[in-house]
């Protein structure tokens, strides 16, 4: 247990230090709140309508971009070897790595999402749901994305491959989360989409580490 906590600390620190967390959070926040009014015109109704959706898409894209760093360095510098040689099952190790990635990247983004949405003019009531969706969605993105990152270890054109593998798997959570936000904003029942998002995130947490560990073992051999 203490090992996993230490690993979580290390992973978070590395992802954070490498620029993932604050970079994404600050950049995303600044980008969404300054660029969108500029590009769409500052008609409040329009802005408010797309704010949560735009925040949501930015989350998915930002997750995509930070993925390639999840395993590659550790693979190349031998840290993955050492992580492997331990009584801790590789599945747990992968799980913790993804959690660290999420803590450093997904969580700051989730914090920024409602702020950005509301400051663009979305109803403040949307805030908690936007936050919860971003949190859950970030988890799903991190765990699903980790599979892509692990599978493309050691491949030529690893980055392209990660994108090609991960994009299709990102589509369902984007649909679920976007649907929930949209429904909430329109006063429709939104729990269905949210529950599906949660289910997908749970599924990703359950399946992801197994697939990642298998892929890492394969890459190390």
């Amino acid at each position: 247990m203490s090992r996993l906590l230490a690993l979580l600390g290390r992973e978070t620190a590395l992802a954070w230090g490498r620029g993932g967390g604050p970079l994404v959070a600050v950049g995303f926040y600044a980008g969404v709140t300054t660029f969108l009014p500029l590009a769409i015109g500052s008609e409040p109704a329009r802005l408010a309508a797309i704010a949560p959706g735009a925040a949501w898409v930015a989350l998915a894209l930002a997750s995509l971009l930070s993925l390639e760093r999840l395993f590659e360095r550790d693979y190349e510098d031998g840290a993955l070897d050492q992580l492997f040689l331990s009584p801790v099952p590789l599945e747990l190790t992968c799980l913790v790595k993804c959690l660290g990635q999420w803590l450093a990247n997904g969580a700051p983004l989730a914090l920024a999402a409602p702020v950005a949405a509301i400051s663009l003019g979305a109803k403040p009531e949307l805030g908690p749901l936007a936050f919860a969706c971003a949190l859950l969605g970030g988890l799903a993105f991190a765990f699903v994305g980790g599979i892509g990152a692990a599978l493309s270890l050691g491949a030529r054109r690893g980055g392209l491959l990660t994108a090609v593998i991960v994009l299709p798997l990102f589509v369902p959570p984007v649909i679920f989360g976007g649907g929930a936000l949209d429904a909430f904003a329109g006063g429709l029942p939104w729990t269905g989409g949210f529950a599906l998002l949660g289910a997908y995130a749970l599924g990703a947490i359950a399946v992801g580490p197994i697939a990642m560990a298998a892929a890492c073992r394969n890459a190390l051999s």
Binding site: R3, L7, R10, R73, G78, Q82, L85, L220
Partner: protein, 214 residues
């Protein structure tokens, strides 16, 4: 006497007492590196693995650690299951040391000691033995080659495991540290440990030889 108890206590029950390679063969990238390589190493013995560049020394070490699959043959760790042996019974130290250049030596030592099952006290003791104390606040990037290797080796001492797999352990060390590391290896062997080391120069301890063909 003291050492025996330490062994029993901190290495746990599933401690490796033997390393046996049976007619092993390894293939990399479609080429058979070697075949029919056998070895029997008992507790307290060290093996110097030699052979020209590209003969497969590193690959063999990685096969023992479970990374590389054998083309043929088997690797056994005495009474211990391979799974268990690899999950906490052996250390591997090589060129790719897994140390992150941007983190400090102290952070890296603490993390890897904890990860390998050592305690804070053992990390401190290892740092003392390897004279790392003054280096601990530095980032790994700033360490000299020999200092960095010593930091990587600290986990050998900080988290005692029976089998050491060493890939060219002495090359970046200076004369004094080659001597000193020889002493550490001897102590490890005396305590019932095993060492398999890929080398180009002879080790300063008595060894069994295993030479891979070109």
């Amino acid at each position: 006497m003291r050492r025996r108890t330490r062994v029993g206590k901190s290495w746990g029950d599933g401690v490796i007492t033997q390393l046996v390679l049976e007619d092993t063969a390894i293939r990399r990238g479609g080429r058979l590196l070697f075949e029919g390589v056998s070895l029997e190493l008992r507790a307290g013995q060290a093996c110097a693995l030699t052979g020209p560049n590209g003969s497969g020394k590193t690959s063999l070490l990685r096969a023992v650690a479970g990374f590389v699959r054998l083309e043929a043959g088997a690797i056994r760790f005495g009474a211990v299951e391979a799974e268990e042996a690899r999950g906490g019974g052996l250390h591997i130290v090589g060129h790719a040391d897994g140390l992150k250049p941007a983190r400090t030596a102290a952070e890296e030592l603490a993390f890897w000691t904890g990860w390998c099952g050592g305690t804070e006290a053992s990390a401190r003791a290892a740092a003392e033995t390897l004279e790392l104390q003054t280096l601990l606040p530095l980032e790994v990037r700033r360490l000299s080659a020999g200092q960095r290797r010593r930091l990587a080796m600290a986990r050998l001492l900080a988290a005692p495991r029976a089998l050491w797999l060493l890939d060219e352990p002495l090359s970046p060390l200076d004369a004094r540290w080659r001597e000193a590391f020889g002493g550490l290896m001897r102590r490890h062997l005396d305590g019932g440990g095993l060492i398999l080391a890929a080398v180009h120069d002879p080790l300063p301890i008595p060894t069994v030889g295993l030479d891979l063909p070109a």
